[in-house]
Symmetry: D2
Subunit: 337 residues, 4 copies
């Protein structure tokens, strides 16, 4: 598969490396608004660098496009790439505005089945193993899902200002994880807090949250978020059911523990950079995309999964504002599937 | 201190043993509606057995009364014991009806300072150590408190029928634990589920719940409950703050782990009986009562703590019914202190 | 069973409490060379205090004697008690001199089957569970046994001077544990070190050691000892076999863990007093003694187990001196059974 | 640095990948007796393939040679490569015969400082972190070092037959690890066992061992080996000292744990392939080689470290045969440094 990369920032580079290492893929074009960035990536991982999107989308040698450019460009690039007949892997979120997402969906029609959205955590070996073991019945009927997701440190004000808010920027990964386990979500309730950074409050955003979800089958889920965690990138999950529980602990960078008068069993802080924590997930995500498109099956999570997570983020926002449980109507829920 | 015990059920016996083992206390009277039960306890742990409450409360040799009889008798016995000049340790809850609790409070007036309510978990060495280390600043400003509390197996229908419901019967311990860390709670939001036992649904109760609380200072707390947990009595807590986190894991009955082709590090199931898990807590609770009454200071948790937990249970019930965050007004909150 | 206690030091008191709490036992006599010590124990746990051993052994109301006096008195007291028809539980070691032990054995003859030696660790719930699971085949054929046993801090010089040396005083517990798993030991090899305290070297003793044993069936075992461990009483074991491994971790006094910039998962130091670590073992040990004598069966570990552990200590001593593997001849090995 | 690889087996490929990924290195020649193997590696990781060693060593464009061919070829290739002026990284062991090693050492003279021996475990992030923290004084004076090293499954008979025996083939890594912490070793004592596979005994080799070492400063070390471990590749270490302990646990492939009626906290089996466990170590090892040679400093572990580990293996063999502690004389010890 000949792949073009659009967007050469932090995540773009990760995808470039994954493509370069993949036996069935080749990076043929690398595009960034800043051509120097494209050149740097191309030098390292291959492909023709450039800053002209039209050249990329018009190249018949390009089978698939990975979109890792800034969020506001996603809908436009995704629509054009699909229209040009390319398979697309688009970084999350599709857009911050549900209306835009729906318009895009209408525009691409059935080609949505060739679009994958970059919820990389579904491909983390630990989360995926738990998902599969739950599906295989190991915990019986799933009853309660607990997700803890905390960033090591808050992003700078410039980032927060255009992020769409905690729910659309950060929790959206957890909403997708909740859907990965629960499928359809029918109720959303949220509380937020401003305890981490004043500039976040000044920008009208929250920096901590607890969200409770109910699945259509009654399963309860709650998500705890914080923009700051001193001991690393806190990424845990518990799937509790009628027969038992499966949990995902944080990962340690080494196997060392310390013992002394001050205490015992002390380990290092956890991996504190999302790219370190999720490197294997990014690799596996790209692998799935290449396999699915190669086989002519729809990659997962797809466009509609990207939309569904945004619906949950909007609902959380509404619950925060109104102090009410937000019920999602069947039509909206349908979109979640 | 000469102590009388009223109520010789499971918890009554635990208190009898704690009193018998305490160097500063003596069990002088043992009372139960079923006199044989009183006799059995007296034989083992000392004291004069009987079934006549008046004889107990009229005995000038009795300094303090431990009330471990059925919930509906608590208010009456507590009021009479206080009126008779006795210090009182009363099992939780004071009553299932807030109106009754308020009337009782009015009746006993300032003598409430000689009443302790049996929220034993405050005396668990692990929870208490975390509370003290949080108070000492170890996690910085407390931001998020996560409580998981699951019973090994659902109580029988007869018990559930008169329990007052999950929030007043089971979560009430967690509400008290939340208050132990957060002090004043100003918002309550709850979702419940019926996934464990049909007879619980038929009795109009829930058997699982997720409750979110907000403290007056903005700290968020959530509580996860279930009436069934196959791997033991699941009693955990995480206190997360600006500088770090302190957690309480479950306790194992031994130090054994197993390794083989099927996996590694497998431990035994957790202690699955609340009396095993909390034996040291029950001992420490009684010790605190004896110390406090002996020193003329008010034992903690006191009557008003018992009331405050019930206020939170009522609020959770209301949130469940209305799908709204319930805000507690200052007057109600005052009662929480 | 009517039990007399001889010796009211630290361990004597533990046994007194175990007897007092046991439903089938009664402490009828308490004896110590220092009568005040006997009186204090009797006051707390029952029995007639005194300092006259003859009065104890001559009392027909005494069924069994627990010997917890200083080591040099063991052989004499044990012999007299057995001769007086009493069942005996004797603290370890029987004596520091194998010749004395053998003479004692000859003197008591078949009554040895009513003597138990206080290797309490066999009754620790974790070690015992592993022993039973190994016997049930869970790790397949046992191949390697690793024992780590370190004291929190070195005993004072006065104690060390009369202790018989590290192997006879401290490792003897581990030799018994090795025999608990391996039965017959046929080879012993030892290295010692002096790294902890100068006064121990000056007394001609070592303060650290590594001992390797081979069982008659080829199983290898090694024991690591130190007289000092800053993080608590380090008492661990691994039983490794053809199908897997069972391990015993150290026990923590609570379930708290800490997380922060300095690291994660930090727990408290381990229990650092042998009586705290092994309280349940001392209780279970006495319970076994009472059950076995009551049923007319021989308690385990018996007199010959006490002797066998001393044989291993002597062999380790010899290996240390000669730099050779010491082979135990069948006759000596027989005594081990 | 332009590097040539000689030997394209399992480990050769790992080195090829490390070289290809290294920013300062380029794989210029790939050589294997089976030319097809060389071609396959060259296709994937670069370089000119071939089967002619002379062509490799005669190429002035080659700065350094990585020797990953069968052990019997090491001494010859190493000598020729050094003579040809190349820096060399040679897989362990240099040779199975100490005489050959000494002759080789004499032949290469001071050029030994441009030879590195592939004891990859020194570069494992966990072991290295412990080594550095011990050196920084975190455990005080190092007193006892415990190494557990067990392979998942025994190698086939053909491999065992030419392996040089357990001590020279497998324990040699642990001898090097012991020297990494202890520097000079002055005493060696060993016991072996045949419990795993009959064909190993028939070949005159052992399949399990316990080895005890004493460092020149009195530190004790013991090593436990087995050719079979059902739960993965068991690679652990404990460095115990006067102030505390640092340990290296096994690494898990994911962060999943399971809880149910059968038990709690069950994790996956450990990584069971040495290349998975030590991938980062192989990368770091090559990086060190490139840095050291680039800077003109001697890489570590060097030729003399390779010799010293073999001296310890021979001593263990002698101890096994004689049942004695083998004392290493200063001259031999010198070679260890």
């Amino acid at each position: 598969m000949h792949i073009a990369l659009i967007g050469c920032g932090r995540i773009g580079r990760v995808h470039a490396e994954s493509i370069a290492l993949h036996p069935k893929a080749e990076l043929v074009r690398v595009c960034d608004a800043v051509e120097a960035a494209a050149r740097e990536v191309a030098e390292r991982f291959g492909g023709t660098p450039g800053s002209d999107v039209d050249a990329v989308l018009g190249d018949p040698n390009v089978d698939a496009v990975v979109i890792a450019s800034p969020t506001p460009t996603h809908v436009d690039l995704l629509t054009r790439a699909v229209t040009a007949g390319k398979a697309v892997m688009c970084e999350k979120p599709i857009d911050l505005d549900l209306k835009q997402v729906d318009d895009c969906r209408a525009a691409i029609g059935s080609s949505a089945s060739r679009v994958m959205v970059g919820f990389n955590r579904r491909f983390d070996p630990s989360f995926r193993a738990v998902r599969e073991r739950v599906a295989a019945g190991e915990v019986g009927r799933l009853e309660q899902l607990i997700i803890v997701s905390r960033d090591p440190a808050p992003s700078p004000a410039e980032y927060i200002a255009t992020s769409g808010g905690l729910f659309r920027d950060m929790t959206i990964h957890d909403f997708d994880m909740a859907r990965f386990f629960l499928s359809e979500v029918v109720e959303v309730s949220a509380m937020g807090s401003n305890l981490v950074a004043d500039y976040i409050a000044e920008l009208g955003d929250i920096d901590g949250a607890v969200v409770t979800l109910r699945g259509a089958d009654g399963t309860l889920c709650h998500i705890t978020n914080s923009r700051r965690c001193t001991f690393g990138y806190d990424q845990r999950l518990e799937a509790f059911g009628s027969l038992g529980m499966l949990s995902v602990d944080n990962l340690r960078p080494d196997g060392v523990r310390a013992y002394g008068v001050q205490g015992t069993e002390g380990a290092s802080t956890y991996l504190d950079f999302f790219l370190d924590r999720y490197t294997p997930a990014y690799r596996a995500e790209l692998d799935h995309f290449i396999e699915a498109i190669g086989n002519g099956t729809a990659p997962e999570p797809g466009f509609d999964d990207g939309r569904a997570a945004l619906v949950l983020a909007d609902a959380a926002e509404e619950s925060l504002r109104t102090g009410r449980v937000v019920k999602l109507d069947p039509a909206a829920a349908e979109g979640q599937r």
